[in-house]
Amino acid sequence: MDMDNFDQLTVSFDEETGNLRIAGISMMEDSLGFYAETKNKIDNYLLSHSCLVTVEFELTYFNSSSAKQFIQILSRLENNRGSVLWKYPKDNTIMKDRGKELEILLEVPFKFIPI
């Protein structure tokens, strides 16, 4: 498990293209507070744009409270409002499986990309 970027979670939302990227390790204690702004940005984007939102994950670890926040973020993409690119280290089957579990719970298309 490559966790050198323990403190380097990247969350960036491009308000022009509607692309959200979440990369690194997501294991903060206050994930509800941490992702609140991201959820607001997506809500505002979906209100003012008819384009789809793409959420690109490139994580090496996430904790259970982050999983809940990911569902809250991705549920906004249901009803054909977006899709998910789930990038995972090619030798990390755990991260692939944890992405597959999120896919089961959501009506959002996922594309899995080993990197």
Binding site: M1, M3, Y61, E101
Partner: protein, 307 residues
């Protein structure tokens, strides 16, 4: 702290049955940094004479000696020429407590303690300090299988450094198998954050314990924390129910619970312990005891290692 830790690396001997350890105790007015490691005759002679010399010097004399060595080109084979020891004595303002226990011919257990006052630039008074023998007794009674032990405040701000230590150690120790590394780290994260979230505040902080120990065929993580009185029966019921699920049922339970809780306002997902149980495929050991401060939950799980 780094200097004390590096002291083990600098002067320590590689031995199979090691009693080496490093620990920090923060008690009221001071921080007590302790290390214990096996050394050879040469290191014993060097440390014994250097520490005797350092402990006789005033703060001004320590400063002069430090500058003198720094300006000279003479460094010991191990690289420090005692600079680290002098620097620690300067920072502490107290004598460096130390003790050599002869183990066998040419082998000693070197116990070392640095005491630092919470008040900057002020040495600890004698009545505020801890005698090194108290720490020798405490640390030598810790089970030798314990790799890491933390007792203290599990508030949000405090657990970040705890998780950093866990991350650094799980990454190195079990690198050969990704699942082993993930299981130990993930179990640690979920249990530590569980205490932070559900642990009861006692004396103005969330008092808890976390330990990681090595077993014959794996690792064991145990935690302890006080419970809020209104959560006792729910916690017991929940753990009993969780342990009754078969391994095959757990993935379904995880998905159903995550889905059910996903849209609630509660910060947690309510699946941390389910994850701990399903990834390790072990039952969660638990006990709830009544103490004067309230009900205390002790919890543990075995993490088997896949070769």
């Amino acid at each position: 702290m780094i200097e004390v830790f590096q002291n083990i690396v600098r002067h320590g001997e590689d031995v199979e049955e090691s009693k080496d350890c490093f620990g920090v105790r923060c008690i009221a007015d001071g921080l007590h940094i302790y290390s214990s490691n096996q050394i050879n005759q040469q290191a014993h002679s060097f440390l014994n004479s250097k520490l005797k010399e350092i402990n006789k010097l005033s703060s001004e004399e320590l400063k002069s000696l430090y500058m003198e060595i720094l300006e000279s080109t003479e460094l010991s084979e191990k690289g420090g020429a005692g600079l680290g020891l002098i620097d620690m004595a300067r920072k502490s303002g107290n004598s460096i407590q130390h003790n050599f226990k002869e183990l066998a011919e040419s082998a000693y257990q070197f116990n070392y303690q640095l005491d630092i006052s919470a008040e900057k630039g002020v040495p600890l008074k004698q009545e505020q300090n801890i005698d090194i023998h108290e720490n020798i007794n405490i640390y030598s009674n810790i089970d030798s299988n314990i790799l890491f032990y933390f007792k203290g405040d599990f508030s949000k701000d405090n657990i970040h450094s705890l998780l950093s230590i866990l991350k650094a150690n799980t990454q190195n120790d079990v690198k050969s198998n990704q699942l082993n590394s993930f299981n130990i780290f993930h179990t640690g994260v979920e249990l530590i954050q569980n205490i932070s979230r559900h642990g009861r505040c006692v004396n103005e902080f969330i008092e808890g314990v976390f330990s990681l120990s090595q077993e014959k065929s794996g690792y064991y993580i145990s935690t302890g924390n006080y419970l809020n009185e209104d959560e006792i029966s729910n916690t017991e019921e929940y753990l009993l129910q969780l342990n009754n699920y078969s391994v095959d049922q757990l993935k379904q339970v995880y998905l159903q619970t995550l889905k059910k809780n996903a849209l609630s306002d509660d910060p947690g997902a309510g699946v941390g312990l389910i994850d701990v149980r399903r990834y390790n495929q072990s039952v969660i050991d638990y006990e709830i005891h009544k103490y004067d401060n309230g009900s205390y939950l002790s919890l543990g799980i075995f993490i088997s290692i896949i070769n």
